[in-house]
Structures are given as C-alpha cells and as structure tokens.
C-alpha cells in the first residue's frame, strides 16, 4: 500500500493544475494518468486557445499542456503514467491502480477525480460500420498518431468540437464535404465556423445523418433535413460520397469513480448529463473526494485549470499547508477569473448550470 497526502486521477488541465497548486504549497502529491503522456485533451488541441493571459491565450493547447507538466515536475509532484485507476475503496480513501502491469493500492488523505469526459454516441442505420467514429477519436488518430481515418469526411455536429475537428482534418489533408447540425443554429463559436466556411466547407443547419452504407466500411452517407421538432423531412435526402463520418454530438462527464464511491449526482443537461454534485471548492458529497474539469461538468480547458486550482487550494488548506486567509485570497482570485470566463452568450448558461449544481449540495 502506497501512502500519500493527495492523489490526483487524470493529468489533463484540471489534474495538472490541482497537482501544481498543491505541490507548490508543499503537499505530498501523486498525479496519475492512464496514457503514455500527460496533458489529457490538451495534447490533441493544436489550435490556439482563447481566454486571457492567465490562461495562456494565443498559445496552442498542446504547448500549454507541456508548460503545465514542466511546472508540475518542478513542484516535486510524483507523476505516474501508463497508470489506470480502476477502483476506489474505503469511502474514497483508497485507490486501486494498475501501474504498467503491476496492481497496487494507494491510500490518500485527499483524492481528486479529474477524469475528463467521454464522447456521446449517435445511433443511425449503419453507424457501426468501420469509418464511423467519434470526432475526438479522429482528432486522436490524426494529431497524436498521425494517421487519417479517411480522406472524405462528413462531420455530424456543429458545436466547437465538430467545427474544430473539421478544421484539423482539413489541416491534415482530408476533404471535409460538409458539417451537418440538427439544430437550426451553429452551437460553436462563429469564428470556428467562419474558418471552415471560407475553406469551402458547407455547414448545413437543420440537417442530420440518416444512414451510412457501404461494403464492410463507410462508402456513402445519406443526410436529411429535419423540421423544428427534429423529425426527418421525407424527400430531402442528400447523398454524400464519404469514407468517414465523425460524430460530434456532445460530451458527458466520465465520473464512474465518483459513482462507485457513493458521490451524489445531479442530471444537468447543460453540463453534459450526470454530474457529481460538488461545493464551490470542488468537494463532492464524499468528504475528501474532489472533482474538477470535464468530470465536474463539460466546459473548457480554461475552466478545468481554474477548478483544478480551486481543488489544490482547498486540499493545501485542509492539510494545513496554507492558512485560511491565504486560501480565501487565492480562491477569490480564481473565482474572479472564472466569472470572467463564464460570461457572454456561451458562458452564461454554464454559470447558471454550475450554480444549480452547487445549490443541490447545500
């Protein structure tokens, strides 16, 4: 049994930020990730990030991840890669892990579950054919492994993931024939949509994919217009000769470990579905177990970093490494930055959703 003060599950932006904040305060911290390299989603984000200076706006996601890791290592945090956390026991005090091929257990005073999100599926006739895959999956294949899943793509979903991945597929040399979006409006940022529109990619709002077909792989897709109730309008079918259909219809929190150890959940659709209820300091209903980042509600990397920092501050304070006064000051700074992010047409909905979530716990 390994003993530590603070165990962080997931080395994405939230986990890295939490480990950094706690590590700098002197907390004995272990940061684990099942991948071969840390960074979580940041590794695949080759575009420049929005936000302000504190969020390294203008820097590419991948480079932000590298910077964070550098700082985390300097802070003396123990980083364990190729390490799967498969279980959580003893009322959220013990983790079962598989480090490479070794099965081990870690007892920690505080645990952060920063396990990110999972892509939502979309079932339609032929969706199981090879060639239909998640947009995030396509991003992983191209940006991490340098292999294109195909060269003629239909993107389903015009949220930020769909728009960004469509652009990245173009950068990798694929032909994106269209982005289809069932809703009447584009959900992602206008600038992401504009980038691909001027590259000739049509964005068909009020349309969805009806069927994929082909001989043991995708060879074509049928797209159909939908009415304002989401029902396909007969006679509006359009055929696209594609070998790849990417599904970008949202993410949901990956919070199985939180479920297993008994955290209370709430269903909040703006946050991606079932989300662990947590306080303003990111603690769940199981004392000592925290959530941050997409696992605490689908938002963005900038929010994930701030939530990670909030967790690190609370952990450092609870374990006696920083005073109550200092913790309050740090929290106020972080909250101010979060408020700046959660404004505007995109941020407001998320602010309301998070407030609902935090109310539930009270």
């Amino acid at each position: 049994m390994i003993e530590t003060e603070f165990a962080v599950v997931g080395a994405g932006p939230a986990g890295l930020s939490a480990a950094l904040e706690a590590g700098r305060a002197g907390v004995q911290t272990m940061l684990m990730d099942e991948n071969q390299a840390p960074g979580g989603q940041l590794v695949k984000q080759i575009h420049k990030f929005f936000g302000s200076k504190e969020h390294w706006a203008g820097m590419r996601g991948r480079d932000i991840g590298d910077k964070l890791l550098e700082q985390v290592k300097k802070a003396g945090v123990k980083v364990m890669l190729d390490t799967v956390v498969w279980g959580i026991f003893d009322e959220g005090k013990v983790l079962g892990i598989k480090e490479g091929d070794r099965n081990r257990q870690i007892r920690a005073q505080k645990i952060l579950l920063a396990t990110g999100a999972s892509e939502n599926p979309l079932a339609f006739r032929g969706w199981t054919l090879p060639g239909v895959l998640g947009a995030g999956a396509a991003q992983t294949l191209v940006n991490l492994h340098r292999v294109l899943p195909g060269t003629r793509v239909l993107m389903v979903g015009a949220g930020n993931v769909g728009l960004i991945v469509a652009y990245q597929l173009l950068q990798a040399g694929a032909h994106v024939l269209a982005v289809v979006e069932a809703l009447p409006t584009i959900g992602g940022y206008g600038v992401h949509a504009s980038k691909i529109r001027r590259m000739g990619v049509p964005i068909l709002t009020g349309h969805t994919v009806k069927e994929a077909s082909g001989n043991a792989k995708v060879e074509r897709a049928m797209v159909v217009r939908v009415d304002d109730r989401g029902h396909p309008v007969p006679g509006t079918e359009k055929k696209f000769e594609v070998d790849t259909i990417c599904i970008a219809v949202g993410l949901h929190p990956l919070a199985e470990l939180a479920w297993i150890c008994g955290c209370q959940f709430a269903y909040i659709s703006e946050l991606g579905g079932h989300v662990p209820v947590h306080t303003e300091n990111m603690e769940t209903t199981v004392p000592g177990v925290y959530v941050a980042g997409d696992a605490a509600g689908i938002e963005e990397a900038t929010v994930a970093m701030e939530e990670g920092r909030l967790t690190g501050v609370d952990v450092a304070h609870c374990l006696g490494y920083i005073s109550g006064g200092k913790a309050q000051r740090l929290r106020a700074e972080i909250q101010t930055r979060i408020q700046l992010i959660r404004t505007g047409p995109f941020g407001e909905a998320l602010k309301g959703a998070k407030e609902k979530l935090i109310e539930r716990k009270g």
Binding site: E34, E119, A137, N143, H145, V147, A172
Partner: protein, 105 residues
C-alpha cells in the same frame, strides 16, 4: 493514410519500423504506436466481426473505452488495439465474435 507533413505538427517523427503479422500476412508499422494505427496506416479498417450478425467493426473511440477495436493479439482475444502498443513480431488477427474464448464452451 499517414500524415507525414502537417502545418502545425511538422514532420512525422516515429520510432523504428518493425515487422508484424496481420492474419498471417507480413506487415510493417512503427514500434510503440497503437496496433490500430499501424493497421489503419496500412489501409485496414475492419478489425473484427460481431458475434450475432457477423458485422464488421473498427475503431470508434480511439481511447480504449468502447472496445469496438478489439482483436486477437498473440493468441489473446479482446485486446483493445487502440491503446495496445505494437511490438516487433506481434501476431494480430481479425477477431471473429468473442475470439478464442468461444472455443472453451
């Protein structure tokens, strides 16, 4: 298709190319990359066939969660090829249904 040049990522840098077997045929891939991408890089999209309908399946989530990409590797069935790294000499087989476990019934 390999993305050998990229405007942001630059030139593709991989480990050494190694030989492995796919359904008895010799193939080459990069040591240390997922088995799935070695196959996709060679144009292989069908990794297995389902139990009931013998439907072809391939990569779906690419991060080891959905298990759509499982194949029989070195005699062991249900190996998630998108997160299992290629080693020289591996024997990768298109999996039919549940693979070798079926035979133990």
């Amino acid at each position: 298709m390999r993305v050998t040049e990229h405007p942001i990522l630059g030139k593709m840098v991989k480990g050494r190319k190694v030989e492995f077997e796919f359904d008895g045929k010799p193939m080459r891939g990069y040591e240390g990359e997922p088995i799935a991408t070695a196959l996709m890089g060679a144009g292989i999209k069908v990794f297995r066939y389902t139990v009931k309908g013998q439907n072809p399946r391939g990569v779906f989530c690419a991060i080891g969660r959905c298990t759509d990409c499982v194949m029989t590797v070195d005699g062991m069935p249900n190996v998630r090829t998108c997160v299992t790294l290629l080693r020289k000499g591996m024997k990768v087989q298109t999996q039919m249904g549940l693979g070798a476990w079926e035979k133990s019934k």
